[in-house]
């Protein structure tokens, strides 16, 4: 791994994103629109809006960055650029961290904008700091990037890659405590939700929602999410092979 190559790779990925104006627009505007939709859905039930919007601020970045990364990495694999990069001094980690940092930055902008709209325009209220919400959202985005990098190894086509979303992302959304509090689920479902990283991201957000100061549980949950990021990146690195059959 080299700082110069990592930096240049990150810049290259951001440049690719910059040329795709429509993706940038979708990336930034869609979460805001969906939050506005939630606002009108729960116009008469402020506590419900506060609970759901907060969780959504964590789900959007995960979902979107998972999709973007798995497609982007798949393109590297299928277009031959990955093979070509492996004949150059680029290291696997340069590539993995390059994607992590580039899309993490994009996610930070997305999360900051969505949170700004949620707090200032739609009246979202949390006991804790909005900065912590953005921090957890970015951690979640990086989680999406890391899992997306790993999953892209199992898809041959873009059709297959998008199919991983219902497999990898939807169960996490269903079981993260958004629809049913996790401690009220059947035991085996709760057990399942205990091994899904999104559950911890959502719990961390709920901690910020309920407590004025960051709690130990919130830091622990954030630590778990970070641990899963490292694990997924390590698994992703194993799927990147310089030599292929």
């Amino acid at each position: 791994m080299s700082a110069r190559i990592l930096t240049n790779t990150t810049i290259r990925i951001l440049r690719q994103l910059r040329h795709d104006r429509r993706t940038i627009a979708l990336l930034l505007v869609v979460p805001m629109l969906l939050l506005a939709l939630l606002y009108f859905m729960f116009e008469e039930q402020e506590p419900v809006f506060n609970r759901v919007a907060l969780i959504m601020l964590g789900i959007f970045p995960f979902l979107i960055m998972f999709l973007l990364t798995s497609i982007a990495m798949l393109r590297e694999r299928t277009s031959g650029t990955l093979e070509r990069l492996f004949t150059t001094p680029v290291g696997k980690l340069d590539l993995l961290f390059g994607y992590g940092i580039a899309f993490g930055l994009a996610a930070a902008v997305q999360a900051a904008l969505a949170s700004a709209v949620a707090y200032w325009l739609l009246g979202l209220e949390t006991a804790g700091s909005s900065w912590l919400v953005v921090l957890i959202a970015v951690a979640n985005a990086v989680l999406g990037v890391a899992i997306g990098l790993f999953c892209s190894a199992f898809a041959r086509t873009e059709f297959q890659a998008v199919q991983f979303m219902p497999v990898v992302v939807v169960p996490q959304i269903l079981l993260c405590g958004l629809f049913v509090p996790r401690n009220q689920m059947a035991g085996w479902l709760e057990g399942l939700s205990n091994v899904l990283p999104m559950s911890y991201a959502v719990e961390a957000l709920q901690e910020v929602g309920a407590n004025a100061e960051p709690t130990g549980l919130m830091w622990r949950d954030l630590g778990i999410v970070t641990g899963v990021v490292v694990l997924a990146l390590a698994l992703g690195a194993m799927t990147l092979r310089r030599r292929t059959p």
């Binding site: 440049r15 004949t87 001094p89």
Partner: protein
């Protein structure tokens, strides 16, 4: 020639190389020595194993047995990654970046800057398209942009998989002149083609068919061995002779 002399003059040495892709064996024990500072043409019909051999030389192909040594190091070793330039058959650059951004990125991997990138873009005749997105280029321009990304680092060994496909005759001629200049400057070039008229411009030829090497010589010697002045015909004769000998 003594061993030391051979070591000095050989840039790429392939020994008993066997490669399987899927369940099929595509190279059946190829051996060849590719001299330093020359243009070696790798010729053969589509599906004969040219790309697989090239992938083995640049170190991205899993090998079943045999070995490939490049500049004294096993193919694919980290030290070689600074010395090899690889052009894949279908252009592998980023379509959502401009020509300049692509070449600068590949240059940056070797610590090179904007000047080297600009010079390489001029070399492949894309100065006017430097600011254009690769996705909007014509087929020929696209593959020249890809070529620029392989040339930018001034590698000691260039492995070019059909670099002139889809180029107009004038450009093709210019590219070949450029390859010749590079070789004269000491660059080792392995170049694949299925156009026989290009083979005459090589210093040496490797003729490959169905994963076997059927000739490894200068174009003149290949033609002399087949008793014809036409390389296409020479190729055909060599194939028939070989099939006759195997029967």
């Amino acid at each position: 020639m003594n061993y030391e002399g051979k070591l000095m003059d050989t840039a790429i040495e392939v020994t008993d190389l066997v490669i399987e892709r899927g369940k099929r064996e595509v190279l059946h024990g190829i051996s060849a020595a590719i001299p330093r500072g020359e243009v070696t043409g790798l010729l053969g019909p589509s599906g004969s194993g040219k790309t697989t051999l090239m992938r083995a030389v640049v170190g991205v192909q899993r090998v079943k047995s045999g070995r490939v040594v490049v500049l004294g190091e096993p193919a694919g070793s980290p030290a070689l990654r600074r010395q090899i330039g690889y052009l894949t058959q279908s252009p592998s650059i980023y379509p959502d970046l401009t020509v300049r951004e692509n070449v600068r990125y590949f240059g940056s991997l070797y610590g090179l800057g904007a000047e080297e990138a600009a010079a390489t873009i001029r070399e492949v005749g894309l100065a006017d398209q430097a600011g254009q997105l690769v996705a909007t280029l014509s087929g020929g321009q696209h593959s020249r942009a890809s070529l620029a990304c392989a040339l930018v680092s001034r590698p000691a060994v260039l492995v070019l998989d059909e670099p002139t496909v889809g180029q107009d005759p004038v450009l093709r001629d210019e590219l070949w002149k450029r390859f010749r200049e590079l070789a004269d400057g000491g660059t080792t070039i392995l170049i694949s083609s299925h156009v026989m008229d290009e083979a005459n411009r090589c210093d040496r030829l490797l003729l490959i068919r169905d994963g076997e090497l059927i000739a490894d010589d200068t174009p003149a010697a290949v033609k002399a061995a087949a008793g014809t002045d036409d390389l296409d015909l020479a190729f055909l004769t060599l194939v028939r002779d070989r099939e006759g000998a195997n029967r």
